[in-house]
């Protein structure tokens, strides 16, 4: 079975193909049935789940699922847009590895997963009031305090953040303060 046949079985007529990588965009309501069908078609491995924050656009968030067959012959990327405050159906029922991926996304982006067995933070402590990888969260961090558990502060950036810019010369490619 080729990817083209898989896409036909999934009912996807206009996939995005870029540099040999195939991406399909689906609606949120179709996400879980599509993932289920993908697994039936042989995409037994969930490589990664990630999320994007398109701050200023509607819907704000986007989920990205990276699927692969066990023999690594086929890769498929499934994307879906999610509005703020909307829950995403969990993929834990299909792939157990989704458990920690989804907890990380909840921790960093604040997207909740409906049906997840343990929807808690995984990196930051339970009770940390922010979602640090959202675009409106400052790089330096924010102050917070949970007595006896943990606190956080604002890091000095000294004119930063220092970013590298693509440049032809080595000098222009060095990290500089933005602006």
């Amino acid at each position: 079975m080729s990817i083209a046949n898989d896409l036909k079985a999934l009912g996807q007529t206009n996939p995005v193909v870029f540099r040999g990588e195939t991406t399909i965009n689906v609606g949120l309501s179709a996400l879980f049935p599509i993932l289920e069908r993908c697994k039936e078609l042989g995409y037994e491995m969930l490589l990664d789940i990630s999320s994007l924050d398109h701050l200023g656009l509607e819907p704000r968030f986007e989920m990205v699922y990276e699927l692969a067959t066990l023999d690594d012959s086929k890769h498929l990327r499934v994307k879906t847009k999610v509005a703020e405050g909307v829950d995403v159906p969990t993929a834990v029922k299909l792939w157990k590895t989704a458990n920690w991926h989804e907890r990380e996304i909840y921790d960093m982006m604040g997207i909740k997963f409906a049906g997840h067995p343990q929807m808690e933070r995984i990196l930051m402590w339970e009770g940390f009031p922010y979602f640090p990888l959202r675009k409106d969260f400052p790089l330096a961090g924010k102050e917070s305090m949970m007595p006896e558990v943990a606190f956080s502060g604002v890091a000095p950036l000294e004119g930063g953040p220092f970013v590298t810019s693509p440049g032809s010369t080595r000098e222009s490619g060095e990290p500089r303060a933005r602006g």
């Binding site: 990196l123 922010y130 640090p132 969260f137 924010k142 956080s152 502060g153 890091a155 000095p156």
Partner: protein
Amino acid sequence: MTDETLTVSHAAYDSKIEGNIIFTRLDAAINWMRKNSLWPMPMGLACCAIELMATASSRFDISRFGAEVMRFSPRQADVMIVAGTVTYKMALSVKRIWDQMPEPKWCIAMGACASSGGMYRSYAVLQGIDRLIPVDVYISGCPPRPEALIEGLLKLQRKIDTEESFKAQKQETVTA
């Protein structure tokens, strides 16, 4: 013993012990004992811990300086070597371990992260362990080489040498 405060006595009042008596100040004796048997609490939090392990191993051999007894119980340690990135999630645990160490105690901030947060100007990382506990010696490097850690240890030994340990102890007894 080349230390000026430690002089071998030649008082010949008893031929059996002649040459075996040392006159010194109590401070000098206490400091000499303390600085040459520092028991580190290895607070290994990131890649600096690998260099800390290398320092303890045969090639660099920190036991040449009397600091080879790494203790994983804070109650048996006198110098905490904070080796690595202190995240906010870990910060209060480091403080708690420090609080459990008995006096007298010292702290070495090993590497850029423990000293200042290093390259992690971020929401997740404490910007230097000195924001929570007093640091005696800072070691630069990312990570520092074992030689740098040994140099830091020798700096700490020189610092301990200048302390008025007996006086401090006496004051504690009086107030207690």
